[in-house]
């Protein structure tokens, strides 16, 4: 009779030495992939709310004011000239730069005005251009005067830059669309 040999079972073991590596990989994956969503955006300070009857009209000279109008079709008007949104930055930069050495009450005011039906994205793009123009002028000024980038300035220097080139953006109230 043939003897059926019982196959000897090998010791059943899971190799655990690489377990730590796997766990570390998982840990790293979680550490890297959990993007804590950062709050980035365009900061702005709104003017105080004043009742219409209490509002005081302050005349502003024409050369101080950069009038930016965006209508509902997406056309952009800067001081009466039709321009494209990416052109806003370069247009404004020259005007901001020309007013660096002017006194405080003569600095440029950028007024952004939209229709009620204007697309929000367009408004943000235009505002982005204005902000970008200010940022670039500030950066150029910082490099030419202090020889450093804007972010490397000391507090006093930063204050001086802010005083020389204040970001004044006026968000005009949109006109009512005639019904």
């Amino acid at each position: 009779m043939v003897k059926i040999k019982k196959r000897k079972l090998g010791e059943a073991e899971i190799p655990t030495s690489s377990m730590a590596d796997i766990a570390f990989l998982l840990l790293l994956f979680f550490l890297v992939s959990t993007t804590i969503d950062v709050d980035t955006g365009i900061g702005l300070t709104l003017p105080e709310f004043i009742e219409v009857k209490d509002q005081v009209f302050v005349p502003i000279s024409k050369d101080r004011l950069a009038n930016l109008l965006i209508n509902e079709q997406g056309d952009v008007l800067l001081d009466g000239d039709v321009i494209a949104i990416p052109q806003i930055k370069n247009n404004l930069k020259a005007r901001i730069e020309s007013k660096i050495n002017q006194p405080k009450n003569k600095k440029l005011i950028v007024s952004v005005k939209t229709d009620r039906k204007t697309n929000y994205n367009l408004y943000i793009q235009a505002l982005d251009q204005v902000k970008g123009a200010y940022a670039e002028v500030k950066d150029t000024y910082a490099t030419s005067v202090y020889g450093r980038k804007l972010y490397d300035l000391t507090q006093d220097e930063d204050k001086d830059v802010r005083e020389k080139i204040p970001t004044i953006i006026s968000i005009a109230e949109p006109e009512q669309v005639k019904k």
């Binding site: 900061g43 939209t114 949109p174």
Partner: protein, 137 residues
Amino acid sequence: MKFTKKRASTKQEIPTASMPDIVFMLLLFFMVTTTLREHDVLVSFKLPDAKAIEKIENKRLVSYLWVGGDGRIQIDDSLVKLNEIQSIMYGKRVSLPNIIVSLRIDRNSDMGVVTDIQQELRKASCLRINYSTYLKL
């Protein structure tokens, strides 16, 4: 005289068998503790992109306001009407005087609703705002 070097009789090995457990514990710790205080966003929105953006340096001051593509407005965890914004935001401002309102507005919204919200915020004297945008690459 013959000197024999004294050797420890125990094995000179670090037991690594419990290493995965330790690492898993770490992993669990991270997974559990990183519960970001998230709001349940009830509106659908897609933020616009911009280049000249800044980071809100103090997250504690931020309060969010969402506007969806359909024009619905959400503050904290509930949908609100336009005329309710003023009282809600005023209450927030009283408890947190230098509050920053982060406006998370859908990119296809009309400026009309944005302006209405801004007017309400002005009435509530929440003047520091931030148009939330992604970084344009």
